[in-house]
């Protein structure tokens, strides 16, 4: 009798199905959402939540890939004027746009949203501050002219693309002041509420977020460009990539977000799946401290660049999911330089070392963080450097620990990456070449005034073609003298089920632009 009961119970488990198929107007994504902090545009700064915020809020400008280049195009700012001196921007706001709940989107909302970012002072605030806007001067610099006109006064005449790009990102999302203020808790301008609710005019509404579990977006039927085809997007937290792979194959999710190169390659050739990959908005680099020992000599820096086997790293460590780029400006950017001057040349590298007086090499500490890919890169570089007599001792640390050490200029050699903050060469030239902004060049003690001047001047050049030339000059100078070797530009990739169409269009420009309205079934 007992055995019978047991048998009945087991068969019940087997019979009662669980996998209801995903409806046509719904897309389910499997993703590791462990790093998600908030969906408030003034707080959110991490890559994955940011691309969702971009689909929940509308901005003054929008980033789009046009002919292979990511550019900012007018969105809620139907048009704009720039004053003669290049400092005063006047935005003319599109009329008739409403937030998802029907409230009007006007100059008040735009002014409120910009000031809100400045006042809250959270992670993304420094991007607005880099234009000279801050919480002290905001009443003078961010002004409403009439119901549909906003004027912003910058401290310097920045190139138009810089300004538009910064206003086109997740932190530039226009927030409904009525919703935000009605949920104000002790002056937080609705920030606690907006962490897991939305108040935007984008194509989707954040319906719910159960942390470490599930995020549900539903279509904004009032979206001013027309409601999107996919009505519900569900993001399930799946920290384990193997799990994403299994779920994708079983048809429980449409998109697997965090697959490894091996897992993604296992989908290739199967008609049930597509692999979508796009150039990532980041750089993977090796840097040496130009203020430390042997690296003070430019010839030693060059020797390191000639010692690395770039092709092997791209093929064997990243499984080919990378573009061979060596300038600091990645593929798809204004000023991109396609030539790759460095290939492994051990003889030349040895000669350079000998010329610098280090024929017998030296010992150096090579730091990187805990991800498997970085560790493998460090090991490959260690082997390459050994060939020219440099003994690199690898130290692995948590990213936060590594960046702290780097900020204190305490690193001799490092393998790391740079995620691009906005799609303009300025977002790369400054960190990689201008030590005065106290980012990468400063952290690696490369105090080169010529490079810094060039990078700064290019940021203020209003003539586009002149600007491109300036970046080319800078890149060539930087190849010769800089303390950086760009290893590659990574590709971002996803596995999708073949029923899902248009995801390649959605992902174009990831992570700076990501348009969920482009996908359909």
């Amino acid at each position: 009798m007992r055995k019978l009961l047991l048998l009945a119970l087991i068969s019940l488990f087997v019979v009662v199905g669980f996998s209801a198929s995903i409806p046509k107007d719904t897309v389910v994504i499997g993703m590791n959402t462990g790093i998600f902090i908030s969906f408030d545009p003034a707080v959110c700064y991490e890559v994955e939540p940011s691309v969702l915020v971009m689909n929940i809020y509308s901005d003054l400008f929008k980033l789009q890939e046009i002919n292979g280049t990511i550019q900012a195009i007018p969105e809620l700012a139907e048009s704009y004027d720039i004053s003669q001196d290049g400092k005063i921007w006047t935005f003319h706001i599109r009329k008739g746009v409403t937030f998802a709940n029907g409230n009007p989107l006007n100059a008040d909302a735009v002014v409120y949203s910009i000031k809100r970012v400045l006042k809250l002072g959270k992670s993304p605030v420094w991007l607005f501050e880099s234009l000279g806007l801050n919480s002290k001067n905001m009443d003078d610099t961010v002004k409403k002219i009439d119901d549909y006109t906003v004027q912003v006064t910058l401290d310097k005449p920045y190139a138009a693309n810089i300004v538009m790009s910064i206003f086109a990102e997740s932190w530039g999302g226009i927030v409904d002041p009525k919703i935000a203020q009605s949920h104000d808790v002790s002056g937080d301008m609705g920030s606690t509420y907006l962490a897991d609710h939305s108040a935007g005019a984008g194509p989707y509404i954040l319906k719910s977020w159960q942390r470490n579990n599930m995020i549900v977006l539903v279509a904004n039927e009032n979206y001013w460009r027309g409601a999107p085809k996919i009505k519900t997007i569900i993001i399930r937290d799946m920290p384990e990539s193997t799990n994403q792979q299994l779920s994708l194959k079983r048809g429980d999710i449409d998109i697997a977000w965090n697959l490894t190169p091996e897992q993604i390659n296992s989908l290739k050739g199967d008609p049930n799946f597509n692999v979508v990959s796009v150039p990532s908005q980041s750089n993977e680099y090796l840097a040496v401290n130009a203020g430390w020992g042997p690296f003070k000599d430019v010839r030693v820096r060059q020797a390191v660049k000639y010692a690395i086997d770039y092709n092997s790293i791209i093929q064997n460590i990243v499984g080919g999911y990378a573009i061979k780029v060596q300038g600091f400006i990645p593929y798809g950017y204004l000023g991109y330089v396609s030539n790759v001057p460095f290939d492994q040349n051990i003889a030349k590298a040895k000669q350079l070392l000998a010329d610098a007086g280090y024929a017998n090499g030296f010992e150096v500490e090579l730091v990187t963080n805990t991800t498997e890919r970085r560790r493998n890169e460090a090991i490959a570089i260690q082997a390459d450097l050994a060939k020219i007599g440099i003994k690199a001792n690898i130290t692995i640390m948590q990213a936060a620990q590594m960046y702290k050490k780097m900020r204190e200029q305490g690193i001799q050699m490092i393998v790391a990456g740079w995620g691009i903050d906005f799609p303009d060469p300025d977002a790369l030239a400054k960190p990689f070449a201008d030590y005065r902004v106290k980012q990468l060049a400063w952290r690696m003690m490369w105090y080169d005034n010529h490079a810094a001047d060039l990078a700064e001047a290019a940021g203020f050049e209003l003539d586009q073609s002149k600007r491109v030339e300036m970046y080319k000059d800078l890149t060539n100078y930087w190849f010769e003298n800089g303390p950086f070797a760009i290893l590659y530009q990574p590709l971002s990739y996803w596995g999708t089920r073949s029923e899902l169409k248009g995801f390649d269009q959605t992902a174009k420009g990831y992570s700076l632009s990501f348009d969920l309205t482009k996908m359909y079934k």
Partner: protein
């Protein structure tokens, strides 16, 4: 009266333990030469922004002051706000803990049943193949990483056979029960949401089996040893001599007495499960406290790390205390 004294004594000791936990964890997280603000802002932010954020979060104060502030907060039931989410740590814990608790309860059930039966069989059939098998089986449970067992079970029961669902607590289109305790199974029972109950039960089988299996060995081993001990006692021989059936001798006479030490190990195991759920929660995508603490560690979220650890330590001590109390009631010699 004596029992009352015992409880008071133990509770005071527990307070001391809690203080020790806070102090040690505080020291450890602050000794790491890393920077939570750097973790929050990522690698790009310029130094001025980092400094200002530190000030905002009060991380520029001297360590001793930070510690005093923290202790003062804890005394008032305030574990501070998470650096990452900005939410009160207490709120986070209340959200995540029920998931871990439910998982651990189901897992401990599995390991008690499995462990006790394996232990009894091992003892009764000492050094026969059943004994060897059950010992190997339970040792395998401890030796195989939970991570790996989890993935293999998923591969077999979810991907290949399709008998059980993959990850999460509920299937996508099942309406979750109204939140009362935060434990899906309990809440769906309370609200009479049978679909959610059934679905949730199917979802918890794999993770609980993985976690429970890993904890089986210690229970099986103690049961075996204790059973062997009891089975050689005179009264068992007497019972056998009286012509009682084997079943009655084993289950009625021997097991009852053999279980006393097992209670202790179950208590300890349960505490261990609460903290050991980390990997299981990651593999099965469960929004539990273990995963919360791991995320906090990776991001150096000091208040979340300390709050989470303190809470787990508290639960562990409470479980221990209750085990000791049960013991004390069973065996008055313990109160001395």
């Amino acid at each position: 009266m004596k029992l009352g004294n015992y409880i008071i004594k133990r509770s005071l000791l527990m307070l001391l333990v809690m203080f020790g936990v806070v102090a040690i964890v505080f020291a450890i997280v602050h000794v790491i030469p890393a920077d939570p603000v750097g973790a929050l802002l990522g690698g790009n932010a310029p130094p001025a922004v980092v400094d200002r954020m530190k000030e905002q979060l009060g991380l520029n104060k001297p360590l001793f002051i930070q510690f005093i502030d923290y202790i003062w907060g804890v005394i008032h039931g305030n574990l501070g706000n998470s650096i990452q989410s900005g939410r009160p740590v207490v709120q986070d814990i209340m959200e995540y803990f029920p998931v871990t608790l439910q998982l651990s309860i189901v897992a401990i059930f599995i390991s008690i049943i499995l462990g006790i039966f394996l232990g009894i069989f091992s003892a009764v059939y000492r050094n026969k193949w059943i004994d060897h098998f059950s010992r190997i089986f339970s040792i395998l449970g401890v030796s195989m990483p939970v991570f790996w067992t989890g993935l293999i079970l998923l591969l077999v029961f979810y991907y290949i056979l399709g008998w059980l669902p993959g990850t999460g607590q509920l299937s996508l289109f099942v309406i979750p029960p109204e939140r009362i305790t935060g434990m899906i199974l309990v809440d769906s029972l309370l609200t009479g949401n049978w679909e959610a109950f059934w679905n949730g039960l199917r979802h918890i089988i794999l993770p609980a089996a993985v976690l429970g299996y890993a904890a089986t060995a210690s229970i099986a081993r103690i049961t075996r040893a204790s059973m062997l001990d009891v089975l050689t006692q005179d009264y068992i021989r007497t019972a056998k001599a009286k012509g009682m059936s084997k079943k009655v001798v084993i289950y009625r006479h021997a097991l009852k007495n053999a279980l006393i030490p097992v209670v202790t190990i179950i208590g300890l195991t349960f505490g261990g499960l609460l903290e050991g759920a980390v990997l299981t929660e990651t593999v099965f995508g469960l929004p539990g406290l273990g995963r919360y603490i791991v995320n906090a560690l990776l991001n150096l979220d000091y208040p979340a790390i300390m709050g989470g650890t303190l809470f787990i330590a508290l639960i562990y001590s409470l479980v221990n205390l209750s085990v000791d109390l049960i013991y004390a009631m069973l065996d008055p010699r313990m109160r001395a």
